[in-house]
């Protein structure tokens, strides 16, 4: 039984609780300096997310500046090649090239309402950095973006875009110089000015209320996709796939389907080059419970609770933790999580580009790899893939990998 407006949301949408718990996961593990700032953010979330003026402005920005609703595309050739019915939810067509803009616009509007004087953000692939820089430029707020030095190099096109959009980009050289240390550095910046600075976090991670806030802002993906599937096919998909770094595009796609028990939901993590600690970024597949960056969740750590460096060909998935709601959905069994390797993702990227005329981001290509695997064992299945972003930003790394092979 399916309704047009979304499943029986109440039974599954009751997490998080007031303290930000998704079952045992989530919470708020931050220095005392940030507690009052998070309380103010919580008050803002309570006040504005349900406020008609705020929602009207958010919807209008999404429609006229971001370009929503994004298309639902039937992937005819992939359907034929895989022996399935494949549909793509095209977040790559959103302004700035990925789903990240939904969250960035929402949080920047909220920051403005809360009287913030500047926006800070972290970024891995550079997509949240570009989205934040664009939203801040549009709303007239200065923006500083923290980015691991390794990512600055491998996502160079996005660094230039952020600068053109007026943002200050700060490379972070500690640790493995990727997303996790960029978040650490953004948190330090925020601790220094918790009253004037708004930290616009880029995924469904961090201390409460961020995982909830980001989910609510990204759920537009799944709401649109669900309605579009019903309209175009008269039915829901059998399975939906999304890549999982911190988990924002995945929770945004999945959440409106949670109550639809017939829809299999699958999150695809970065399997990197293997199963060993340090060889992947698949915290749901290989991680253990712990506290990282404000939240109790599944993390890639050693036996002494030291968070370990990760590896993925994709900067946006290269993170040792994951949003607490995904840890919860794994534990309840409602969502399945699996890993796709660097090689599988690059292969899926090439296939999609060649046969659908769409160059997906390397992050996104992990979802394609997972979907292709599923199609192999479920002939004829109707499959929805969250096409979270476009791959233009990945040219430096594609040049060194698949294009080398094509030369």
């Amino acid at each position: 039984m399916t309704s047009a407006s979304g499943g029986d949301a109440d039974t599954v949408a009751s997490v998080p609780d007031r303290r930000g718990r998704f079952g045992p996961f989530g919470g708020r593990y931050v220095p005392e300096t940030l507690v009052a700032a998070l309380d103010r953010l919580q008050a803002g979330v309570d006040r504005y997310l349900a406020n008609e003026d705020f929602q009207a402005e958010f919807r209008s920005e999404l429609a006229t500046w971001v370009g929503r609703p994004t298309a639902l595309t039937r992937a005819s050739t992939l359907s034929r090649r895989w022996g399935a019915e494949v549909w793509l939810k095209r977040e790559d067509l959103a302004h700035t090239g990925a789903h990240k803009i939904n969250n960035a616009v929402g949080q920047t509007l909220l920051a403005k309402r809360l009287g913030a004087k500047r926006i800070i953000a972290e970024t891995g692939a550079g997509q949240h950095g570009v989205a934040s820089a664009a939203a801040a430029a549009r709303l007239g707020l200065p923006c500083t973006v923290y980015m691991g030095a390794v990512d600055v190099e491998r996502q160079a096109p996005n660094v230039g875009r952020m600068k053109l959009l007026g943002a200050t980009v700060v490379p972070v050289t500690t640790g493995d110089a990727t997303l996790r240390v960029a978040i650490d550095e953004a948190l330090r910046d925020w601790v220094a000015d918790p009253e004037g600075t708004y930290y616009s976090i880029g995924s469904a991670v961090g201390p409460h209320p961020y995982p909830y806030l980001v989910r609510e802002l990204q759920a537009v993906i799944g709401r649109e996709a669900r309605a579009q599937m019903l309209e175009r096919t008269g039915a829901l998909p059998d399975a939906a796939f999304a890549c999982v770094g911190g988990g924002s595009n995945a929770i945004g796609l999945f959440h409106p389907f949670l109550a639809d028990a017939s829809v299999r939901l699958v999150g695809v993590e970065a399997g990197g080059r293997g199963e060993g600690l340090g060889d992947n970024a698949a915290s749901l597949t290989y991680g253990t419970p712990g506290v990282l960056q404000g939240s109790y969740t599944l993390i890639l750590q050693d036996e002494h609770g030291q968070v370990r460096e990760t590896h993925s060909v994709s900067a946006g998935l290269d993170y040792s933790g994951v949003g607490p709601e995904h840890a919860y959905l794994l534990r309840t069994g409602r969502v399945a999580y699996e890993a796709a390797s660097d090689a599988e993702a690059l292969d899926a990227l090439v296939e999609c580009a060649r046969h659908e005329g769409i160059l997906p981001a390397i992050e996104t290509a992990h979802a394609f790899a997972g979907a292709r695997r599923y199609a192999a064992t479920h002939p004829g299945a109707r499959i929805l893939i969250g096409c979270s972003g476009r791959g233009d930003k990945d040219m430096p790394i594609l040049q060194r990998t698949v294009l080398e092979g094509l030369a």
Binding site: Y29, V30, P31, E32, R180, R188, V191, E303, Q306, V307
Partner: protein
């Protein structure tokens, strides 16, 4: 009659106050600058300071500035772990000296296991814990576990902690209240304007235990400025840097008095 470990902290600070001094709380990162010398360094600090904080290194020290970050990463590279730290601390506390607290982010403590941590820490002579990423609302489990062994869980307050919350946080503090001098991470030199002193006075009125100011305290002038407004001062990054330069921590701490 023996007193609980958490009471030994207050007693050490009170003893300093009785002799007319602001208590000195010395912080050093375990296993930095050298793993081999750590036991000697710790003993030297425990002989010169009134209370000691031993930093348990963590991969993601989000409340720390560059000095303690660098010290943490180097200590981890030296193979420092919590079980090793407990062994070193036990060797030093066996000989007496100032009460020793462990300053640790939550995750290494979770990995050790909150069930077995309090007993192991008490056996090593640890007097309490400071956990910078564990706010009041999330502390129940650890606080309960430490209470059973009489260990302190030191509460931090900051200049941006709202007044009512400050009262609540102070009311049931153990050991001492750690009053952070400023918004920001550890290390950067703190100014001590009049409003910071007024904030310290407020904390002191609310706290049933001694109050120690910390973050950014590096000079004798700063220590003198806080005198009369707090019971003690925490010296962290500056002491770590002195150890890194190879200076005698006793001489460095004496220079702040």
């Amino acid at each position: 009659m023996s007193i609980a470990p958490h009471e030994a902290i207050g007693a050490a600070i009170a003893a300093a106050r009785r002799s007319g001094r602001t208590a000195l709380v010395g912080f050093l990162t375990a296993g930095f600058p050298s793993r081999d010398r750590f036991r000697d360094d710790l003993a030297a600090v425990a002989a010169a300071a009134d209370v000691v904080e031993v930093g348990v290194p963590f991969s993601d020290p989000m409340a720390d500035g560059t000095t303690i970050q660098r010290a943490s990463f180097a200590a981890l590279a030296n193979g420092v772990t919590l079980p090793w730290i407990l062994g070193e601390v036990a060797a030093v506390t066996a000989a007496g000296g100032a009460p020793i607290l462990l300053m640790s982010y939550l995750n290494p403590l979770l990995a050790y296991g909150l069930e077995r941590l309090p007993r192991a820490a008490a056996a090593a002579g640890v007097a309490g814990f400071i956990v910078p990423d564990l706010p009041f609302e999330e502390r129940a489990e650890l606080r309960g576990a430490l209470d059973r062994e009489g260990l302190a869980l030191v509460q931090m307050v900051t200049p941006v902690t709202p007044p009512q919350r400050l009262e609540r946080l102070c009311a049931d503090a153990r050991g001492f209240v750690y009053a952070v001098t400023m918004t920001g991470t550890t290390g950067a030199s703190a100014e001590v304007p009049a409003d910071v002193l007024a904030y310290m006075d407020r904390v002191r009125r609310a706290a049933p235990v001694p109050v120690c100011a910390g973050f950014g305290i590096r000079t004798r002038e700063q220590v003198a400025r806080f005198a009369g407004h707090v019971d003690g001062v925490v010296v962290g990054s500056a002491l770590v840097e002195a150890l890194e330069r190879g200076e005698d921590p006793r001489a460095f701490l004496a220079s702040l008095r």
